[in-house]
Point group: C2
Chain length 302, copies 2
């Protein structure tokens, strides 16, 4: 065993007392919240079903940089709180709902992502059901809005070479709320050379969206999609009771794909339990209301 420059001669307690945290220059750490919901659009026909749309919460910036542009809610992490706590604190400051699913998404650490200073941002995804969807009536309430989101893949590339493979996907995101229209184009490039895989996520174009937040939203939608397929995460977007058609529509709007009713119902059968309640006054046959089956567990493949 090599000797370690006298470290053995002082106790851990002494070491901690002498420790100077300012030896290294430290970045700022912020927490950004990606708050998703799936909600209804007004219906054009009294007996037709209302359309569902995916929504994301954005706040209008009242400060430089990106003044007046829209950004994900967030703020700096306090020195005495955990990142989860910081995310919950931000959530509470923007919305009134407490019953929210929260999971860490990804930590963004590009040096130039914030023009002020080095800011590392730990992003969280939160899911709210549309029934509980209320904003906090705070002083800055006018600057917070739920935007509908549409996501469209506008280009795919796939270049194989000898030992290198570069694939890219370009996605257009569109946001609407009360006549406000934002859009952004985001490109994800995966460069694989042997096992060395580098992923670059860049904002090609942004109209009204601050920072690299379009990238974060795109990443979040992809994560949500994957989790939708393999886990029971959907129920965090549903009210306590829901019809199976409601549930199917949430899947459809997130996956951006139509599903066959009979097959869908068989697939999710184990995940839900029927209640005694039915819808009514809908202009057509009533539907049974279901709730999440808390006993449900996904079975393991392989």
């Amino acid at each position: 065993m090599t000797s370690h420059s006298g470290q053995d001669t002082i106790t851990e307690k002494q070491f901690l007392q002498n420790y100077d945290a300012d030896r290294y220059e430290r970045p700022s750490v912020s927490v950004d919240l990606l708050l998703f919901s799936v909600s209804y659009q007004e219906r054009d026909n009294y007996r037709k079903l209302s359309n569902k749309v995916m929504q994301v919460l954005l706040v209008q910036r009242g400060q430089h940089p990106y003044l007046h542009q829209w950004a994900l809610p967030g703020g700096f992490a306090g020195i005495e709180e955990s990142l989860d706590e910081a995310a919950r604190r931000e959530l509470a400051s923007e919305t009134e709902v407490s019953d929210v699913y929260l999971e860490q998404l990804y930590t963004w650490g590009e040096p130039k992502r914030d023009p002020r200073t080095r800011v590392i941002s730990c992003s969280y995804m939160a899911l709210v059901d549309s029934a509980a969807l209320k904003l906090r009536a705070g002083d800055d309430a006018e600057d917070v809005k739920w935007f509908t989101v549409r996501r469209k893949v506008i280009e795919r590339q796939d270049n194989h070479e000898e030992n290198e493979r570069i694939t890219s996907k370009t996605v257009k995101l569109e946001f609407d709320a009360d006549g406000i229209h934002l859009e952004a184009i985001v490109k994800t490039t995966v460069d694989t050379e042997g096992k060395d895989t580098r992923i670059r996520r860049e904002v090609l174009q942004s109209e009204g969206l601050a920072f690299d937040h379009a990238t974060i939203i795109n990443y979040g939608i992809e994560r949500l999609r994957n989790k939708l397929i393999y886990t029971g995460i959907v129920f965090n977007l549903m009210p306590k009771q829901f019809t199976l058609t409601d549930l199917q529509q949430v899947y459809e709007v997130i996956l951006d794909k139509d599903l066959l009713k009979a097959n869908f119902r068989r697939k999710i059968a184990m995940m839900v339990l029927p209640t005694e309640y039915m819808t009514k006054d809908d202009g057509h046959r009533p539907a049974r209301l279901y709730r999440f089956n808390p006993q449900w567990k996904r079975e393991q493949n392989f």
Copy 2:
């Protein structure tokens, strides 16, 4: 639109010049590397196959805190580098291999996880194939070792109540290298109340492992398992050419489960391409060598 305390009257450029990054107290940000590999154990019979074991790279601390204990390689993130770059820099300082798969795992931000000061740690998982498995012959080379890892679930709990469900899983991790034995017990508790899900990961017992690193290792193994099933991540643990039995053993050691040969081969058939080469001198029938099929793409469910 509300007016924002005169922010409109200065330009973004002026704002950035006046910006004081020291307004908030900032935590330290470190990057920790979870370097996995699957390698052979010596074989006891000349014609039997060698057993495979999962391995993780640990470094012995030469400093307080946790002096002489073993920890994941890592260090503080530089102020001018991205987190990915910091991870690659740490990787290069510990090993000689450059052809490594690297992905961000999770960011750990509990206030008390480091006794020195508030340290937020962004963890990365890296995969190396056993053929390339060489350590950097640096001055501190003696303090870096590949440990074999065994993971065993020693307790599961599942309590349903009215509106709350608490599940927990307790895992024992054992590490061995050159007669050095480390072990740790890690407990993961998921507390779900409606949609409000809180996950607590704690180290119940630790013999020789520093910080909360046992938690990180456990999380990494779980992530690796999931990715093994749904993605082509295995091939980052394989040399360029391998037999299908090799590949199956890597699955088996990571999933900790025996698989049936015929079924396994059908399942991974599309992911590999046969080469013209065969093994030889093994005391039994030679096996064809395969390589990863770069064209392969997993098909989408749902």
